[in-house]
Symmetry: D2
Subunit: 356 residues, 4 copies
């Protein structure tokens, strides 16, 4: 590609800082800058990494400068410098920023906390890449929805899903949010959790076929899903293992090989030297995969909330900028981010292969 | 009843101490004593409560006495004094005690950690009371299985269950077991969890129709179940609420009324003055109850692992001693233990109403 | 006493509900009612216990009634009915209520979260009872300060304290506050913690002689203090054990006897049948008590934040109402609350024995 | 240096794997291999990093090979290939390995869990480097002792320490040890903790002058120390801040700048890209540093148990191999490990500068 895509990141928090680092690693993209309102150690990191810093609120620019940061401009300046904006601010804020982005006709990506209806389409690479090519404004679905979408995707292509029930044990807070609990106890979501309906935004064919319940508890490392999927054509346990092993951004390994729990999994990634011990791959415990002759499939998998949607954000950039080849973008994204290579046959069909 | 049933409790741990207190509250039972091998603060409690203390291992009797406890005999003495033994020792130990109990032809109850095959039948009041009347040796199923059995029981009578999938978020350790973790992280059961198969031991008609997955995490207050039940005849959400509200040992309340999480639930029981904040009732979050026209039912409920099987243990005593009226024993047990009165119509059919 | 002291409790939260129950148990006091603004399960408890309920904010009375509660009046009505008000609302609110209390010339007690300067004196039974007799408005110091005061009190009488350094490992949230963390991590108080200075409000002779540091972490059961006290006259370890064993509201026991940690301690109180497993006694781990010939004393003790200041609140009522005999009130309070009897010689001198 | 020091690492656990990575980064050292008995994901890491793998127990070699690992020899082979062995196996095992190491006259380093008396001397760079030069067998003291030694070191040189009391809030388990608790609760060390006495093994002049108490609780990120130090010559707070800021392997920063707790601190290191988010620097919360005119000094600091002793292990290698210049080794170690540069004046005196 001749010119690199100029990507501006708004909101340098848990997701924003990872998106910035991921964009920086792409051969076809440039970070034009990061915009935020903070002026503490978190912003030090942006400065150490050399990202141009912009003040999201113009009036704060001076304060941020006084705190010792080199602030090169305000949000509007960043928008001008960018082809596309990935807005990673907390839910509710991005729509307030839309007029500014649209004034300069910038492409827009928002995160999964945001409502589906504020964008043209919700996006997940393995669900509906092709449907989103060249759109103006999309939402990359949340970590849990991304995880579910990856798990279901290969079954959507080769089988037919009749029913999904997913029960989530959610981390109550990201590691850095020390003010949040519970310390001891379990907090149920009082009703259907948003995850089932959210999956339908990227897999509309699952309408009326997916339900989710969730509880949050006292851990910070990841979400863990216990899922039951009913497919039309019963499928053997070994085939399932092989299917997911071959799929991109999914790892299938045995707990007894040193992955007995999420903490051991984190330790493995720490030891691997992955930045921030991030695990953008969905991890399935192989021993939990089971199926029966009625078409029921059961498994437990891990979803690292901080990093799972990052590769999908990168894919989304290319998608909005008109790249039609989902295989190529997945390969490029995964290689640049050091994601474990799958044995995926990239000539095979992906769910998002062609517009539906 | 003329003579009280003489009940000996072996193992004065988390379950045993509760069973002893519950037996003591029955108008038709007497605690003949408690047997254990400990000699610390836990045993102080037994002494303060006035339970005759026996040494489970004869050689330890002297040591226990030296530690200041009044030990009135050894295990065999307790067996002689009792009509029935409730063995609450850790899994694996009860079968070693069986010969001693059988030498004196005593009725035997073991707990849910024990294997099903070591007894004549696994027991759960609302599942198969009638099948167990007058048996010699039974197992009261574990806390989680008891909870599931109660939830399913009313549906077994009035409907037909086609399929059950239960996902458990388990407390990793009882509050007193401070040496156990995890502190941060989630530990999946690597395969089908034992709960589904265990339910089948009391509801054989669910064979091939129930599956369970489980994770343990960093909390100590209770287990929380997220369940999907498919019944033959679709049933309205309101009807479900009413059905469970009327059922014994089940509470249905709204989270938003001050039960947003398990810690608030515990606080309520602390405030009620329940001993040890025990919650022998299964607690269903009303807002989570949902159903659809396909016959799917969804809900989340709380299972207090320390106390849930206690009333079933009391029922089991009467069952083995030949009391055939399950309604009467449930009423008697619940009243004596201060369990919330349900609006249950005790003339209606219970699943265990008649032998199957 | 002819007439019972009429005590109104404002704020039916963690402290307020315990104060109400404690007042109710006093032979010389009556609960005139509890005032609050809630209308959920917490208030159900007040109603179940038969406490007259008042609306702290007049406009909420109707709402509370609609929610099914029998609300007999508003805050002003409660004030009229009472001789003394124990205000247990969150810090900052009591001073706003003062004008109303003062309009009716009611005695006032506030809790330890409140600032010292808003009252006439801060109060702690074993520190300065005699100084507070017949005052109008006092503050019962917080749980941690109460704990420290009890530990230091016997040394204040029989020895001379030269220096105190206390390091607190604080529970980050009460059990019921599930929205608060941290889940994993430690939060230091950034500077001197308020505990040292707070002790000086009841022991002015410790001015410039006490310092405190504190961290909060992921547990809910109690605060644990590690303390170093330097006294003028070196004192033998055995003497120390005996001294604290004899002192009221202090327990000294060996960890290895079944009190290895705070969870085992809680279990003991659950087993004892103490309401809400409350531990109004300070618990010292005997093995940690140590001293040297320089006059240094070291120990670790447990402070149950929810219940420690409750007996002191009861004492405070009598103190304000003019009862001068601190021995008698301590004995009466402790007996009524079921606090472990100490071997305290009530003819011996207490620090608050005579005005200083 | 002409020849690189050949370093063999025995025990590839929490410490061993970090020591291996640190040795690998030294310009003057080579990892000859790592020996262990495991054959799971942890060993995969060693293989991915290219460390020659040895079987610590000869009989396990074949099993490890069958599990897919390239095992190049047994422990004795590794010993032959090495000039020095860093034994990082659990306490109690190293002394059993000593005869083998000594058979080949290898220098030996053991870790802080081991007893002091099994080696010639306990070692800590800033305490007694000079005393250990050319010794045969030393112990690098534990994480907490290392942390305390660093904090005290600059005061030992420029002032005189009269008294130290340190209260530790300990992480109950390393992140990977998910089987350990407590989940909720605090576990006191029942007596003086080993830390005080352990400091004396490297700072004998503190004999009778240091005391420590400790509790463990439900967090995994680090130990946090609350310390009171009494020095002969009172020292100003600002001077203290400046003193520690300039000292190697110590960071002093304000909590309010984004380091409010240990989780935020970890996040900073994750963001920095430090391997495994390791923090070999002691971190002092600047706001907690305080002092008075009596010579008392107070502060709270963080000790990352997994990585704090790693640089000291590297120093220890050079020390045993005869390098006398402690400044040079500290500089070399710190630079190679990416430790934050201090403003330390390496011409100034270090405590271990000359034999005492």
């Amino acid at each position: 590609m001749a010119d690199k895509i100029r990507v501006g990141i708004v909101g340098y928090g848990v997701i924003g800082k990872r998106v910035a680092d991921a964009v920086q690693l792409q051969p076809d993209m440039d970070v034009t800058g990061v915009a935020d309102i903070i002026k503490d150690a978190r912003l030090e990191i942006a400065q150490k990494k050399g990202y141009p810093i912009y003040a999201s609120i113009p009036d704060l620019k001076e304060e941020m400068q006084k705190a010792g940061f080199e602030v090169v401009g305000i949000l509007e300046d960043l928008v001008k410098e960018s082809d596309i904006i990935i807005d990673c601010t907390p839910a509710g804020i991005p729509p307030k920023n839309f007029p500014l982005y649209e004034k300069y006709h910038r492409k827009i990506i928002v995160q999964g906390g945001e409502k589906d209806h504020v964008v043209q389409k919700s996006f997940s690479t393995f669900a509906n890449y092709a449907d989103c090519v060249n759109l103006e404004k999309i939402r990359v679905v949340s970590c849990n929805t991304t995880g579910i979408a990856r798990i279901l995707a290969p079954l959507m292509v080769t089988n037919e899903i009749e029913d999904v029930f997913v029960a989530l044990a959610r981390r109550a807070a990201d590691p850095v949010r020390t003010n949040r609990g519970p310390i001891n106890g379990v907090v149920p979501v009082l009703g259907i959790s948003h995850h089932g309906p959210d999956v339908i935004t990227v897999f509309p064919e699952l309408n009326d076929k997916i339900y989710s319940l969730a509880v949050a508890a006292s851990f910070t490392l990841s979400h863990v899903h216990m899922i039951k999927i009913k497919v039309k054509n019963p499928i053997d346990r070994k085939e399932l293992i092989s299917m997911w092993k071959k799929y991109p951004r999914i790892i299938v390994r045995r707990g007894k090989d040193g992955f007995n729990d999420t903490a051991q999994l984190v330790e493995y990634y720490r030891d691997l030297g992955r930045p921030r011990y991030d695990r953008p791959e969905v991890f399935i415990w192989e021993e939990t995969i089971n199926s029966d002759e009625k078409g029921n499939i059961y498994l437990i998998y891990d979803v690292h909330m901080e990093s799972i949607p990052i590769p999908e954000n990168i894919d989304a950039v290319r998608c909005l900028m008109g790249h039609t080849d989902v295989y190529k973008t997945v390969k490029l994204t995964d290689k640049s981010l050091g994601i474990f290579e799958s044995e995926y046959d990239y000539n095979a069909k992906l769910p998002g292969d062609s517009p539906r």
